[in-house]
């Protein structure tokens, strides 16, 4: 049960990818989730559907279109080339973009639910206490949405760690660049290196168990702490 340098590289890369994706999704997902939780626009339904689509689409479909879009002949790819930037497919940055789309619903939904649950009342109270909308968001909404953010971060992180199909489609299998744990396990099995596959797989199982235990614990605490208030 020894980890090879490639295995350690894969673990490190996976953690780096998941962290970057989680941070970016939390920051960029907040306004989107806020809008979805509060709007009455007819666009809410379609946007909700688009955000949730990665949940049911095969990852290969997502990966396939991203490959086309980001590739040298794709719209985004060509634009990047004209700007003198490096191509995104088969690079870490490409992986980040693909993972963000793939994990989007796992971050948006907990945030959206928390914002909806907080409702209008605390915001109205804050407004009558002279807090501007931005101030209310940071002093009232953020503290009240703490558990929602924790859920969103844990789910976004864990889901990114667990992805395989999208990575394979857009990232390939380049050591220390796009070779994440799930791909590494696939490689080991292909090469009949079952011992190494076991080690990495066990690490993943323990990781998932711990993450989900943590999540349910915070959920329980969230329930009891918000009882009887407001």
């Amino acid at each position: 049960m020894q980890l090879s340098p490639e295995d350690i590289g894969a673990i490190w890369l996976t953690l780096k990818l998941a962290s970057v994706v989680t941070v970016l999704l939390i920051i960029m997902g907040t306004p989107l989730a806020w809008w979805l939780a509060r709007t009455h626009s007819w666009l809410k339904g379609p946007i909700n559907a688009i955000v949730t689509m990665p949940l049911i689409l095969p990852p290969t479909v997502l990966g396939f279109y991203l490959l086309i879009l980001l590739g040298p002949n794709g719209m985004v790819g060509q634009t990047l080339e004209q700007l003198g930037l490096s191509a995104l497919p088969f690079s870490f940055n490409g992986l980040v973009i693909a993972s963000m789309l793939y994990s989007l619903p796992f971050v948006i939904q907990p945030l959206q639910n928390t914002f909806a649950a907080i409702g209008n009342k605390p915001l109205e109270a804050a407004a009558t206490l002279r807090a501007s909308p931005l101030e209310s968001f940071f002093t009232v909404v953020l503290p009240l949405a703490k558990h929602g953010y924790l859920s969103a971060a844990v789910l976004g992180f864990a889901h990114t760690v667990g992805e395989f199909g999208v990575v394979l489609m857009i990232g390939g299998n380049i050591a220390n660049e796009t070779q994440v744990i799930s791909v590494q396990i696939y490689d080991h099995v292909e090469a009949l290196e079952y011992d190494q596959a076991h080690t990495l797989s066990l690490i993943m199982i323990v990781f998932s168990f711990l993450v989900l235990t943590l999540l349910y614990k915070t959920k329980k605490r969230q329930k009891t702490s918000s009882e009887g208030v407001l």
């Binding site: 605390p122 109205e124 804050a126 002279r130 918000s226 208030v229």
Partner: protein, 372 residues
């Protein structure tokens, strides 16, 4: 329509509200009113549920949209056809039906949230005064979830005062509480209403609260103003929403002229006549307000009939009206000097006594309730 949309004539003092709001073309409810609200004292907004009381308050605070009209306090325009001040820029304090404290902050931090953002110039009431007024020093370190409903509401009132508003809006602050808690909070509210140096709008559907707290009132029904005026005057009239209320009452003020220590009573002088009340802490010379319910007043023509009823006032009949809800009863408006008193008696009694306008009679008052 055209009447409401013309620019309101500015009033130098007091709150001027002239607005209309329509939710949706499908909804029956719309708000449509034009009000000048006194710049001092407590104005109650009274009416059945669904009459638009809360909506009116929310409009004034800026929490409602789809609104046209004018709102101004003193000379500051909050809403005009060309501008709308967002809620966080309006100098109001708002007490919600449910306390609506921030659950993630302790009572003290909830108050500090207000203090930090309070209008800096000339605070009208200090932090210490507010804490003392509402008696919340012992509970400051608690989170809202650890407080009782009444305690939460007291903290919420303190929070609204500490923003140092120019106008205090209270939306049925007692409704969410049970009867015991109501009685616990009312004295605090009375103190706040008397000491707060600002106009207060108090929404309520309880005649009891209105009588105890309000100097003047506005009666709403289906989003329209149906009555407006001084509480004492309005209560003493026939044909108003109050005279049909089962708690129909008048408020009478009088001066304490003597304390009858031997009997545990005090003598109150009202327009040259005496009303005896149970002694409390009042001193000779104090002005007291009492509430007399129409159902506690009976009429007799006999001047010196012996009776267990102490309070017998010489009155003249001013007007008689049938009770639209109960065919067997009539309401009689009496005048003791210029003080109106209402009596709710059976139609048969009125017929037997042959009551006519201008007739002199004796009003017997079974019981009175002392206010403030």
């Amino acid at each position: 329509m055209s009447k409401i949309q013309k620019p309101a004539t500015k009033s130098r003092n007091g709150l001027r509200v002239c607005l209309q709001q329509q939710y949706a073309s499908t909804s029956d409810f719309s708000l449509h009113l034009d009000l000048d609200i006194p710049s001092t004292g407590v104005t109650a907004i009274f009416g059945p549920s669904g009459s638009g009381k809360t909506t009116l308050l929310r409009c004034i605070a800026g929490l409602e949209d789809r609104l046209t009209g004018n709102i101004s306090l003193h000379d500051d325009e909050w809403l005009s056809p060309s501008s709308c001040l967002p809620p966080h820029k309006r100098p109001v304090g708002y007490v919600f039906q449910e306390a609506n404290l921030f659950p993630h902050l302790t009572a003290k931090s909830n108050l500090e949230f207000a203090c930090k953002r309070a209008t800096k110039v000339t605070p009208s009431i200090s932090y210490e005064e507010v804490i003392q007024l509402l008696n919340i020093a012992p509970i400051l370190s608690h989170y809202p979830s650890e407080l009782s409903g009444g305690e939460r509401q007291r903290v919420a009132i303190a929070r609204a005062l500490l923003i140092q508003p120019k106008l205090l809006l209270m939306d049925e602050p007692l409704t969410a509480l049970d009867e015991t808690l109501k009685q616990e909070i009312l004295p605090y509210l009375e103190k706040v209403c008397r000491q707060a140096n600002m106009p207060i709008l108090y929404v309520s559907h309880s005649l009891d609260e209105v009588i105890r707290l309000a100097d003047s009132m506005i009666v709403l029904d289906k989003g329209r103003v149906i009555e407006q005026g001084n509480t004492q005057d309005l209560l003493g009239q026939l044909g108003t929403a109050f005279s049909h209320h089962q708690g129909a009452s008048v408020v009478i003020s009088g001066k304490v002229s003597e304390r009858l220590e031997e009997w545990g009573l005090s003598r109150l002088e009202v327009n040259g006549q005496d009303i005896k009340i149970q002694s409390g802490e009042e001193k000779v010379g104090d002005t007291l307000r009492i509430r007399v319910q129409a159902k506690d007043v009976s009429l007799t023509l006999a001047e010196d009939e012996k009776s267990s009823i102490l309070n017998r006032l010489k009155v003249s009949v001013d007007d008689i009206a049938r009770d639209p809800k109960d065919q067997s009863m009539v309401l009689v408006r009496l005048l003791a000097g210029d003080t109106p008193i209402l009596a709710r008696i059976t139609r048969l009694s009125a017929h037997t006594l042959d009551l006519k306008k201008g007739q002199h009679t004796i009003a017997q008052i079974k019981s009175v309730a002392l206010l403030r």
